[in-house]
Symmetry: C2
Subunit: 697 residues, 2 copies
């Protein structure tokens, strides 16, 4: 798709359908922008004019005498399908529909939008919008938006699902002198969506970072795949709004109640290497730094300051952002001791004191930046009369040039002055009044460095007994059951997940047979699709002596039938009585956007009360499954604490991988929870199971 967007992002000629000369009209603003910005052929289409702003104006798009690469359409919604069809017939492969009145406007609009999708599909048209502000490609010199201002050239490709946010960012970024390679208002995403643009930007040499405001992604699995590819080459920073959105799904397990749309996004972003910004400030602080500076080798920060207080603030921020205060080499320490006055602090943060002039500042910055133990530098300065911020800016610009390490600064002053600002801008060094914000800027680079370094792996595929698993689900369907319990443990076994030994018994004789090899005491579980009554009748007995098992089982069965005559009972599961181990829960729900979402947590109060769980989108690669296991707070329990041995973490990781594979291979599995899974030093056994299957299909 990357090359396919060439004509949209770098058109050779542009037609504006609905161009107007009436100020206040969108068609006027849009055409003015296109005509003013674009050096290639521009055509206006409007039956009311023969000429507009000195450009030819034709009644119909088919009247344009030359081939057109891009049609920008700004006419009433009802007329758009006709024009788009015409574009298709004319071989125009790229269109931006600015007009609103589609899906966002209700049922009729949605039908119109469906028509656009159909036409674009039939003619292979790259369609941006509808209901958008348009796009700006500073490289193509094209402003195809109706915004009052334009964008400066730069290294950030910006995508936004909110047109209003686009307008706001354009205005603010112009004043802040922040530049963009591409600036895209996604609108309703009828055809082209974030995934297409991500693909297009990955090989765009001018785009150093992708920054996006998203309210949702169109195709979760494709987004994950695409974003993962992109982040191997360049960073992607996203504000995903709608954190608060309530999950509206039927819930029959802990997994279900803890999963939610935002959990899925959080997991997908982590897996795809997308950096999630918490707010607008962070989005652009990160994007600026990532666009302008190189990724550091590590996370060790060197701090140079002319005042103690700000130095401590920066140190705190380093800690809070998960970075490290660098320890200088002996050489650096010695050179600082020689070069700085005795009262200076030569340890990190280096406090060169308030009487430091430019020379001392330069020397300290030079020594700290050159230190091999320093991965990046944060320079601070409270205002002093003997030093100008322009001098300081030049010192930092020089250090950055020489050492190619990231540099950010906090010049703690009301206004920097144009000279200092332009030096910093030229050097790509951000400055903030707040030392914490300077540290946060470099932290964005470190986050991306970690993403780049993280091993990338394709999910593996275990040889499994798919037929047996299918048979378990088919049996459920045959019996018209949607919710299954231990009777479906065969599904886990089919996927190579070990389960506690046991057998379903329907008579005292079958109980006796089941008892063979299960040891001195067993567990009895009433098997019934009726979950609520099962617990009412005490459907689980633990530690029943083997010689009393048949009797107890019979009693359990009779009790249940006596109390709830209507209750369907499959029998009694006679299961081995396991010794105590570490109980974990592995679950799966199907997210409407991302598909199968796997959950992991420790049993007992950890999941239910503490909410100490982690999620990942399936399919899981080995490293993703490992990360999932490691990412709960209680992870040390699995490695062994308080004199307990650790459990078979590798075996557990494999269970997660296998379960993820089952979730992917059987889309009718809507929700699943293996709880508990008993973990021991050398084995991992599923003991109980609940799952919900789709009634369809």
């Amino acid at each position: 798709m990357a090359d396919e967007l060439e004509g949209l992002l770098f058109p050779g000629s542009v037609a504006v359908v609905g161009a107007s000369s009436a100020p206040g009209k969108i068609g006027h603003a849009l055409f003015s922008n296109v005509a003013q910005s674009f050096s290639g052929p521009v055509f206006a289409v409007n039956p009311g004019y023969r000429e507009l702003r000195g450009r030819p104006c034709v009644p119909e798009i088919s009247d344009i005498p030359e081939p057109v690469d891009l049609a920008v359409i700004v006419i009433p919604a009802a007329m758009v399908p006709g024009v788009l069809e015409e574009c298709g017939q004319l071989g125009i492969k790229n269109a931006i529909v600015i007009s609103g009145g589609f899906k966002e406007a209700g049922c009729e609009g949605a039908q119109l939008e469906a028509k656009l999708v159909e036409i674009a599909g039939r003619h292979s048209i790259n369609l941006l919008g509808p209901n958008c502000l348009g796009l700006i490609s500073t490289q193509a010199g094209l402003n195809a938006t109706f915004a009052p201002g334009g964008a400066r050239p730069g290294e950030i490709a910006f995508l936004s699902q909110s047109g209003a946010f686009c307008t706001a960012v354009l205005d603010w970024a112009w004043k802040a002198q922040l530049g963009f390679s591409h600036f895209i208002s996604l609108g309703n995403k009828a055809v082209l969506s974030e995934e297409d643009f991500l693909e297009a930007f990955v090989h765009d040499p001018r785009t150093k970072v992708v920054a996006a405001y998203l309210e949702g992604v169109k195709d979760g699995q494709r987004f994950l795949r695409t974003a993962r590819e992109v982040t191997a080459f360049k960073p992607v920073v996203v504000i995903k709004s709608g954190r608060a959105e309530a999950g509206a799904r039927a819930v029959s397990s802990h997994t279900g109640s803890l999963a939610g749309s935002d959990r899925a996004y959080e997991a997908a972003f982590r897996q795809a290497g997308v950096i999630r910004a918490r707010n607008v400030e962070e989005l652009f602080d990160f994007a600026y730094m990532l666009a302008r500076q190189a990724v550091p080798k590590g996370k060790r920060v060197g701090i140079v300051t002319n005042a103690g207080g700000p130095g401590v603030m920066a140190t705190d921020a380093v800690e809070m952002e998960g970075l490290e205060v660098a320890r200088f080499t002996e050489n650096t320490a010695r050179a600082l001791a020689e070069g700085m006055p005795p009262a200076a602090s030569i340890y990190n943060p280096v406090d060169i004191l308030g009487d430091a002039r430019a020379g001392r500042y330069r020397e300290a910055v030079r020594l700290v930046t050159a230190d091999p133990n320093v991965d990046m530098v944060v320079a601070l300065s409270a205002p002093v009369a003997i030093l100008t911020y322009a001098e300081l800016a030049a010192i930092l610009a020089e250090a950055r040039r020489e050492h190619e390490k990231p540099v950010a600064c906090s010049f703690m002053v009301g206004e920097l002055g144009e000279e200092a600002e332009s030096i910093l801008r030229e050097a790509g060094i951000p400055s903030a009044f707040d030392p914490a914000r300077a540290v946060r800027a470099v932290s964005g680079l470190v986050r991306y460095a970690d993403i780049r370094r993280a091993p990338r792996q394709e999910p593996g595929e275990y040889p499994v007994d798919r037929e047996r698993a299918a048979a378990v689900l088919a049996e459920a369907k045959r019996r018209d059951r949607v919710r299954l319990g231990v009777e479906a443990m065969g599904l886990l076994e089919a996927y190579g997940i070990a389960t506690a030994r046991g057998a379903l018994a329907r008579s005292p004789e079958e109980v006796e047979r089941a008892l063979l090899d299960l040891g001195e005491s067993v567990v009895l579980k009433l098997v019934s699709p009726d979950m609520s009554h099962k617990s009412d009748v005490g459907g689980v007995r633990v530690g029943v002596p083997a010689d009393k098992a048949a009797e107890e089982a019979w009693h359990m069965l009779n009790m249940a039938q006596a109390r709830f005559p209507e209750m369907p009972i499959d029998g009694i599961l006679v299961q081995e009585h396991l010794s105590p181990g570490v109980e974990v829960i592995v679950g799966m729900v199907r997210d409407p956007t991302f598909g199968p979402l796997v959950m992991f947590g420790l049993g007992g109060v950890h999941v239910e009360v503490m909410g100490d769980v982690a999620f990942a989108v399936a399919p899981l690669s080995r490293v993703e499954a490992e990360r999932l296991v490691r990412s709960i707070r209680a992870y040390p329990v699995l490695r062994g604490v308080r004199g307990q041995p650790g459990i078979d973490v590798d075996g557990l990781v494999e269970v997660l991988e296998r379960l993820s594979q089952a979730a992917v291979e059987f889309p009718e599995l809507l929700e699943l929870e293996a709880n508990p899974i008993m973990c021991y030093p050398h084995r991992v056994l599923a003991v109980d199971l609940r799952l919900t299957v789709s009634g369809e299909g």
Copy 2:
């Protein structure tokens, strides 16, 4: 003390000792500031001049012909004690020592500083500094700093332990037009510290909020007491730097390893109602809002926007800051439905659409602000051609005036323009490009509202057997023991904390005697001050049948003596074997700044692995002890989960109060940990104990 600072903050006359006419000298900058700003009598003291800037200059401070309220001293450190002594003899009760070269400069300086403290104490001089920038009192019209700029009048009293940060803030605030009532550089805090100024500000009618940058507090308990009094009347917002500071104390318990200086500050701030800002931006965002706007009744936010995207961002921020999106009354919903166009969203956030002119904006803001379900309003606006930001600012100013509810806005634009800015400033309404920052501004008000509403209670005092407790500690001292174990359980009993029944036995006969009433099985614990060997020899046996206890105890004793002949052994504790319950840990360490710091957490992996603990500074009031118990993540476990009954939470709270009382009454208790304390539905019993007592005294 409040009134006592009157002469420092509102002097009638000022002398500058060390005033100079040489530009570049601190004595010059300082005297210029004082002379330019202050309308009362100003005297220069310097043997080199007879007149300075048209003011009389005398060789010695004693030569000043009139009484002087405040002496500002900026002469070499070594000369300061002499001048201060002279001030004392002249009856000058207030002094600011600007000069550096004291404690911050090493040993000799520290001796000089000690002299200042002695002189100030003897003459009851309010001494600010040394080593500070000075102070500005905009109310007194006095700038007694050597900063290049001054401060505008305002409602924020500012304290800073960093002089450089003072200079930075002055410059930035001047540009940002942020005003101060008082602006204080604390310097070395030899005499006056944050506590004194907090006391002074509490009744200062012009100070609406105290904002401070602190690297530490001088007297933890006094700070806690004072700040608690102040925050009942006005908010205190603090950046406390040095989060990362490693605790450097000997550690012999979980409590010790988890406690740290920052934990103590965090606890003290919470108990005192001090709002802790994470960074400079937050400090001033909170301070501005708290200075200018009223505290809201609740935390329900009404949002008005002319664009969907920013509305969603604000909603997310509301969620992240722990606020609530308001649900409008039916009246409001109806009025909005009537007043807004059909495509508008009339639910919160109210999206009045991009084509809204001032009239529609005013109507929406008016309806939302007036709604009784709305406690505060956040107004957003993306740039549109049909609406100026000055109009919007006026609409918000009007709404704020009419309804006295907090209002913040995010006008998403590069530059607001002077007209809009001055209207907002006049109305005390903050604006930020980022919607999340506007929400954060109101969240500061809600945090203070919660602090104001929280019940304030004095710690109670339980009748306890202090003599018995003292005897336990005296016995330890007599035996030259610093670390004690179960043998010190009498201390808990003396403080009315129930303990598991049991008795120390030194012979089989004593074991038999101890067994009476302990039931069918017991616990045996080897009692020895030698903790490490105790576990090596398996010094604890649980569930020993009563009829075998004497034999087992004897065996345990012999084994220990055989393996470690040098090991001192007190005997065997024969303890009742408790049924399973919820295990909690209550601990105490002595913080160098705040004194006794009480820790609470759940046993098992919760404290050790999950770090799920909470701290509070003793003495604890009932409500503080309750809050401590409630504030761990695992709190629901205490209320009962997974079919388990809840525990006696009131009893547990009382244990915390009693233990806090012991910690306060016995300063020789350095560290203590009751672990576990077994909790049941109707009782709470301490089972084991470790404590460290001071070797001194």
